[in-house]
């Protein structure tokens, strides 16, 4: 196999590895949220299992990227792809951490009397959908889908603020809800952070495809396409 074809194959393998890690992170969110909704603390073991696999992939993918850069000395587009993978890798690992946090808080919450979860299921659906689409846009180099993911982050922030305000009012009117309301607020923040990481991934995809940095609203000042 020619060196170029070998490099193309290595990049394709890397893409598959990132998507596998992303799939495991998606499952972690799914199980962590299911744990809260069904009040089934044993689901935390599923989250933990995936966490180990995600942590292994986190290290493996970083190693692969560095080997590929050292071996093939890529320029421009391929280099942007590899740099994007380094960052996406970090975001996926942190999404896994957030899912672990949700399952730990959730396991604790299951032991207390049931309470309304407000917008948590909606926030969870939105965050999980953003992650799924951020992985799809990475896989397909789809800039339009990436922009769509970024736009949805505002809705997640809005839901988090609403949840926060509603639960503070609830705590003020009924002190017996304080411990549980605090836990639900923490879960809302974890979901918001998952949406933030999905947004980071979508931004990295746009940079990877267009060579344009759109973070910090800089696309107008620093257009590099």
């Amino acid at each position: 196999m020619s060196v170029t074809r070998q490099f193309d194959k290595d990049l394709e393998d890397l893409r598959v590895e990132v998507l596998r890690m992303g799939g495991l992170a998606e499952e972690m969110i799914h199980y962590a949220v299911k744990l809260i909704l069904t009040r089934e603390p044993s689901l935390s073991s599923k989250v933990r299992e995936n966490e180990e696999a995600v942590n292994r992939l986190h290290i493996e993918i970083d190693e692969r990227v560095l080997s590929l850069i050292a071996l093939h000395q890529p320029a421009a587009r391929d280099l942007r792809l590899l740099a994007a993978v380094l960052k996406i890798n970090a975001d996926l690992e942190r999404i896994g951490d957030q899912a672990v946090n949700i399952s730990e808080t959730g396991a604790y919450l299951c032991r207390l009397p049931a309470m309304k979860l407000g917008d948590i299921p909606r926030m969870a659906d939105l965050a999980a959908g953003m992650l799924k689409d951020s992985l799809d846009c990475f896989s397909r180099h789809d800039v339009e889908l990436a922009k769509n993911v970024i736009r949805r982050d505002d809705e997640e922030d809005r839901l988090k603020s609403e949840t926060f305000n509603e639960l503070v009012s609830l705590m003020q009117s009924d002190a017996s809800t304080i411990q549980r309301a605090m836990d639900i607020i923490l879960i809302a923040r974890n979901l918001e952070r998952i949406a933030d990481h999905a947004t980071n991934i979508a931004e990295d995809v746009i940079f990877m495809v267009l060579g344009k940095d759109i973070r910090h609203g800089s696309e107008l000042k620093l257009g590099r396409s």
Copy 2:
């Protein structure tokens, strides 16, 4: 100037740039915490000023790293340094975000009656010290100092849990404290996250210097020195 000497100079410039960004992030924490302690909301403008500079450097440093890789095709040690800078850059930017969050919550808190801040000043000192030392260990390639930073993260987590528990008890005994206690809990979490990012930086320095990945307790399984 020879290509090698030019590359060394470029790496040195990059190091200085990272330290400058780190210094700005340290200042942001300083001002945000001072805002809370002195109840002086106008300090949030200082935090905002630095945020703009940090965001500009965030983009600049990423661009420089990619240019240096494309131009000099570094291997092994230099490549690890450049990959570490990409990650440290992301952590510094997120530390800045956390400082902005602290100053925003703090500005809100200033408008409410004063309340004891418990371990917040101690958490702030610890997190700021960890960031300072993580930058020093990056600058000096000091693995022992990096390990020391990583160890201090447990103390920050402990203080955050204590703060959390104390404030939940306070809210339960006195509903008039709920809004303020919630804000202080959010600030404690922001400080904990700053300490997490400093820990990430210290881990990246160890990888950069030793070529060993110590994340996820993997140094025994995956020793690569």
